[in-house]
Amino acid sequence: MSDLIHKSASELADLIASKSVSSQEVTSAFFDRSVELNPKTNSYLYLNRDTAIAAAKAADAALANGEKLSPLHGVPIAVKDNLTTTDAPTTSGSKILEGWVPQYDATVVARLRKAGLPILGKTNMDEFAMGSSTEYSAYGPSKNPWDLTRIPGGSGGGSSSAVSGHLAPIAIGSDTGGSIRFPAAVTGSVGAKPTYGAVSRYGLIALASSLDQIGPVSNTVLDSALLQDVISGHDKHDSTSLPQSLGSMADAVRSADVKGLRVGVVKQLDSDAFQPGVKACFDDTIAKLVAAGAEVVTVDCPSFEYAIAAYYLILPAEASSNLAKFDSVRFGLRVTPDGNPTIERVMAATREAGFGPEVKRRIILGTYALSSGYYDAYYGSAQKVRTLIQQDLAKAFSQVDVLLTPTAPTTAFKIGEKVNNPLAMYLNDIATIPANLAGIPGMSVPNGLAFEDGLPSGVQILAPAMQDAQMYRVGSIIEQMYLAEWGAPLIAQAPKLEVL
């Protein structure tokens, strides 16, 4: 079964459930490939064969007892390194947490274990998820399997490069401003940010609490749907987690039908700011939907103009407070300056040495935004912009079922191209940020290769809050249209990682 690694998670789950192959065999196959190819992609910060195989054996044993724990029973998975795991170090891509083995499992991790999914390892990310390329990881950038000189997106570039490079069939990501969707777009894979609160954040090392959301990363829409079904649901440990179930995303995918679909194109996100090849792919997706019978209208969301500005005030403000706990007292790095330093100096020296430049930049920016005298003008206004964006979206969704935008303004850029220009880096999230500010679900689905560079492009689907099923329905429709054209998922067109 050498081709196991190219199968989707749902195919693997079926093979395991029918006992055509064991979880142990599948897990070993992905593990061996990861050990071999991770030096090329730097997708994983940590891999542990013993725990992965032990979990796979346990999954096989359960199945032998007639216990199928979930629709993804036995399928191995990669987990972003900002989720706490009791059996693996959790660094959030930062030196300040190097070697920390958490005393508790994140709720999502506990749910994966309970659902019988062996964890292969922890994936690389921009430090504390601040970034869109993984270049801000303290442990070096991950590489894009389509072109190892390019970024795999960020902050969840470890998960996207692992999945698109077949180092894992599926992965967990987190999305604060596009950290699941942007990497999915530039690696030709699928990624979804559920409605805020659909998935518990307990055990997710917080970046910006009111924006963060955990979600699935995969190569097919069905795989993301299956994974979201496994990890979502109310959690008493997260007071912001939704009390109600949003239904089965897998069912929505399986019963997807274009009939009666109304699609909105956001005027403010249909401009020349996008790379021509990306824009061409997007236009092609819209044309295909029209041809299939969907109604397409242009909607006006004037407040989107302020989204990035609001985001880069709210995020640093919340992050500056969330990251205060990294103080060298209870866990993590401690740097003791020479002499007989006080705790204040130890803390300051530790945070100087342990945080990278982007993290420091954002902490100081956030401290500024919250300072007395500036709060109302900056943080206060930014929170009001969120209201305006929600109002724009409410109006738009009164006319259409979903909104479509290109996920990213460009295809994968070269490693090093934007790393010294924070502002340029921030613009990568222009299309993804509104969903986080408004709390609505959004996903990226591959929609072709840009004509200039032959690199993947993605289309973003935004649905009203709680209507994640609608988002998956449209994701599946688009996926099926392209499958009919290409005969295989876009990812099949990626070069062979082994020979790169």
């Binding site: 005393q103 055990g203 609490s209 007071s239 407070s321 007292v329 705790i343």
Partner: protein, 499 residues
Amino acid sequence: MAKEALMPYEQAIEQFEVVIGLEVHVELNTKSKMFCGCANIFGNEPNTNVCPICIGLPGSLPAVNKKAVESSIAIGLALGCQIAPTGRFSRKNYFYPDLAKNFQTSQYDEPIAFEGKINIELEDGVVFEVLIERAHMEEDAGKLTHIGGATGRIQGAEYSLVDYNRAGVPLVEIVTKPVYGAGARAPELAAAYVHAIREIVKSMNVSDARMERGNVRCDANVSLRPHGQAKLGTRTETKNVNSLRSVENAVRYEIQRQAHILANGGTITQETRHWHEDRGYTSAGRPKSDADDYRYFPEPDLVPVQPSLAWIEEIRATLPENPGLRRKRLMEAWGFAELEFRDVVNSDLLDQVEATVAAGAAPQAARKWWTGELARLANSQEVAVQDLSITPAQVAKIQQLIDSGELTDRMARDVVAGVLAGEGDPEAVIEKRGLKVVSDDGALIAAIDEALAKQPDVLEKIREGKVQAAGAVIGAVMQAMRGQVDAARVRELILERAK
């Protein structure tokens, strides 16, 4: 650091108007902490009541304790406050090693209760109205121990140790509006106010209210201004005033200290000051500065608290009687002398006496038991009288047996000893110890005759009319009867037999 120059108190009051403001922190006695399920217990081994949430491990999230919210609403109602229809938590950001997250989850611009008032009665019956600005919910910090250096103080310490058992214990902070017009009585009023808050939260059973354990802590703001000046003077905030005596002394000290500075043309620095209980002075802490920019913002990990009217009324219905009003009512009902009543109050025995009276004892008898014999026993056993293992109902039962003549005072004390020794209810102790007033005088008369026979000179004296001589025989008879007779009856019979 030592005492600064002070102006004599009377002179200070003559020259300046005193304005005080009090912030009282009340630790709630919920079973679990404010935002996590760790036990809220005092005195356990360090860092054994901690979890990822209260030691601020990355990824952990808070969840609000419903009982703590109820207790906070109850405190607000007891202080005559309005309850906010919507309130939320905020983060107060500052770095300190006892603060696990380096922010305190507190309430800032939307406290749960606001705009209340409370009448404070001083010892001589003068009443002051104190206006309450707000009462809000927050979490306590951990405990630091400073090691090395001479005094165990922060200055000169080599290092510090942190125990987070207390981190996350629910607190309600009650803040007064500025209190004007107390004049010379401001220190007394401050202490009486803290005492009243303590009494209220204790009567509601929302806090253990033990000041020596830090369950109730006070920060006292003091400022002075020349009489007639409209603008408030610069205030200082004295922290670490954790007994009623300290509150009074610290406020008095600050008045005298500030008065001296102002009278000599100086200015008061706005700062926090520390009260040194042992030597009775305050010392300067950190001046208020930019470093106090706490960067409050709404806690994004928690959702708003919006108590319904129905919930508020449900809580209001559980409020006990106001302790001050209750005292007035009981004093009238019991008819105690003022000194007697104060003795009961000061010994914290109102509950016990009230319950004993409710169980059928006369008020004076109930009072005597609790402030007399029982207090003495508790003292000799080194326990609080409230913690003795005897119930008010048992005390009332014993008193009833005395009243009906079935027990003598001495036998009753034996019964009490038996109850305390765990021998059961008074009836069981009486049974077990064979304590019964001997009602058949036969044995008693025999004992008297025997005693009189042994002391013919006494008999002689009685017959001569020196009846006080009977005392010498009473003791012998009581001893012979093992105390199970009434001394008055013995005396009566002696005189009778001597005829």
